[in-house]
């Protein structure tokens, strides 16, 4: 029951955000944060659930963005169709990674990073398709069922809806047979194989789903920022997404959302500190990594527990039940 209240509160908070903050700049930043959340959710499946350290999400994000922008801008494809095709194109390109998913830990990280660099160079150099380093201007605003989304608030709600859908989809996925198989793989690959789980198939499916969500996020980004440049899709982006996931809390979907919001909003909030901004941000990342094993998502229950423990002498049973819930 408690978690239901929390859920409703969270939804209310997200819906109310653009009404409370009427400044369009901040509304835009909120939208950016939610796009980050979609990216982080996708990577959470890879890193947090399946234990696959991927540094290539930025490439799929870029593929989604350019596919959506080119389809709407040059071919007049409606936004809704372009949006889905962007996800599909990203997912399709993730099949290129099938041969490398069997690589172990750090090799996989470096290989996916290499993949990101290759895709970035294609975006940068194939000017006929992407506009190269000049970028791509005037990506049209999204139009849904005949309504053009013109204000920042409209766009925010579009992104929020997609974020919600992705969240629920991944939530269902991780609680299904598929999710349990992933957990088995991440804990003990050999044992999982012995149980009849096809490792490569599952790992490839993970990449496929993560790439699809990144492609959707890319499409939203293209129509939200309305200007694309290959520099938005370098491996730095991939690394940023990984930071979101780990800062938020590995293995936790709410953590991925929280991590994305923190990583996008903190530099904005620190803007007044001028040149010290990124130093403070780096320090924050380091400190967060030190204070909590499970990122911010792990921090909240730990805080609650220590409060419960503080009250322990009065009600010893409350602590026990809190522990059990963990």
């Amino acid at each position: 029951m408690q978690s239901a209240t929390v859920r409703i509160l969270v939804v209310v908070l997200f819906v109310a955000a653009p009404f409370v903050q009427t400044n369009t700049y901040w509304q835009h930043v909120f939208g950016v944060a939610l796009i980050g959340a979609i990216l982080a959710l996708g990577l959470q499946l890879l890193v947090g659930m399946a234990g696959l350290l991927s540094l290539g999400q930025g490439a799929f994000y870029g593929i989604g963005a350019y596919v959506s922008a080119v389809l709407t801008l040059r071919f007049g494809v409606p936004f809704g169709v372009a949006f889905l095709l962007a996800g599909a194109a990203a997912a399709l390109s993730s099949l290129l990674l099938v041969p490398i998913v069997k690589l172990p830990g750090s090799s996989l990280a470096v290989a996916t990073l290499g993949f990101n660099i290759i895709i970035y160079l294609v975006m940068l150099n194939e000017e006929w398709a992407t506009g190269g380093s000049y970028g791509m201007l005037n990506v049209p605003l999204p139009r849904i069922f005949g309504f053009e989304l013109t204000t920042e608030r409209d766009l925010y709600f579009l992104i929020l809806a997609v974020t919600g859908a992705v969240y629920l989809g991944l939530d269902r996925l991780t609680h299904s047979r598929f999710g349990r198989a992933l957990k088995a793989i991440s804990q003990d690959e050999d044992a999982a194989r012995a149980c009849g789980i096809s490792i490569i198939l599952y790992k490839s499916k993970c990449f496929l789903v993560a790439a699809f969500t990144a492609g959707l996020a890319g499409s939203l980004y293209a129509h939200h920022a309305r200007y694309l440049n290959p520099n938005d899709f370098t491996f730095n982006k991939s690394i940023e997404i990984l930071i979101m996931v780990v800062v938020g809390g590995l293995g936790s979907l709410p953590g991925a959302v929280i991590g994305a919001i923190v990583i996008v909003l903190t530099p904005e909030l620190l803007r007044s500190s001028g040149e010290l901004r990124l130093i403070l941000f780096g320090a924050l990342v380091v400190v967060l990594m030190g204070v909590s094993r499970g990122g911010i998502a792990g921090l909240a229950p730990a805080l609650l527990r220590s409060i419960a423990r503080f009250r322990a002498p009065a009600s010893g049973k409350a602590v026990e039940s809190a522990e059990v819930k963990q």
């Binding site: 041969p99 750090s106 290499g114 990984l242």
Partner: protein, 294 residues
């Protein structure tokens, strides 16, 4: 493609390859000792480049001294972050991935601190070698490149000697291979880990001065170079010293020649494709004997 271009390509590739090797060696010894993928290694290189440059601004120094200053700069930066951050994180027993992400934080801190100190403009290194082109078998070769290759090889040879013949070097190797057994032999693994970071910082600092003297020094010169060194280390077989050295040189040569032969725009892509291909064909890297644990 004339033979002169080939010779120049080889020397240029070797020079940039030596720089990658020096950084990759640091990355490798850190992975061996702690399993940390050290993303701030490129930034240690940048600190070395900046330290060397600052020393030259103060007074006219011979190259060897500048190199030493760069090495000290890299080493000091490394020991500072190790003692203040990584050791604390290890004491807190946070999961490895947290430490790896914290190295990204450190990289951000070092980059932006350097931007505060040295500004955001690329800084030109004064010419370090006054000699004109060297004649090798009738081909004019930039002395800069030749010196970088020589210094690179000397540094790598010194590192090998350090690991083979000094007590500390052997202790570090032992601690990296089996920390428990090493501890039973009376080696303080805590100390050898710190020294590992210092040695890695020194190598990176030297690479910084060499790279700076080739192009220029700037606050953001480190990250991409560090990533490439990572790729180089993986190419050779992550976790092997020989692998890191040969991987760095191979990567430098691949990059230079694909720039000349294929296209400058896609020269980085060629390196990555080679990397992915090698990982698929020989997952433990090209320079590792099969069956040996990396």
């Amino acid at each position: 493609m004339s033979s002169e271009q080939v010779i120049q390509g080889i020397i240029g590739g070797l020079a940039i390859g030596c720089i990658y090797s020096l950084i990759a060696l640091g990355i490798t010894i850190i992975i061996r000792a702690t399993e940390i993928l050290h993303f701030a290694q490129g930034e240690l290189m940048m600190v070395g480049a900046m330290a060397g440059l600052s020393a030259m601004w103060m007074t006219d120094l011979p190259f060897v001294i500048v190199l030493l200053v760069g090495m000290i700069g890299g080493g000091v930066a490394a020991i500072t972050i190790e003692l203040s951050i990584y050791r604390t994180l290890r004491t807190l027993r946070v999961p490895l991935i947290n430490v790896i992400i914290s190295t990204l934080g450190v990289s951000l801190i070092l980059q932006n601190a350097a931007r505060l100190i040295w500004g955001s403009e690329p800084l030109r290194y004064p010419p370090l070698f006054r000699a004109r082109g060297i004649d090798i078998a009738g081909y004019a070769i930039s002395p800069q490149l030749v010196w970088i290759v020589i210094f690179g090889f000397v540094m790598m040879a010194l590192l090998q000697l350090f690991f083979r013949y000094t007590r500390l070097g052997i202790a570090m190797q032992a601690a990296a291979q089996d920390s428990e057994a090493a501890q039973l032999m009376g080696i303080s693994v805590k100390k050898t880990t710190t020294y590992t970071f210092v040695v890695a910082g020194i190598m990176a600092g030297a690479a910084g001065v060499l790279l700076g003297s080739l192009f220029f020094a700037s606050f953001n010169m480190g990250f991409l170079t560090g990533i490439k060194a990572f790729v180089a280390a993986t190419l050779g077989g992550l976790g092997s010293l020989t692998g890191a050295m040969l991987g760095g040189i191979a990567f430098g040569l691949i990059e230079t020649f694909s720039g000349v032969f294929i296209s400058t725009a896609y020269k980085d892509a060629v390196g990555m494709i080679v990397l992915i291909a090698i990982l698929l064909l020989a997952p433990s890297g090209i320079f590792i004997r099969a069956g040996r644990r990396v």
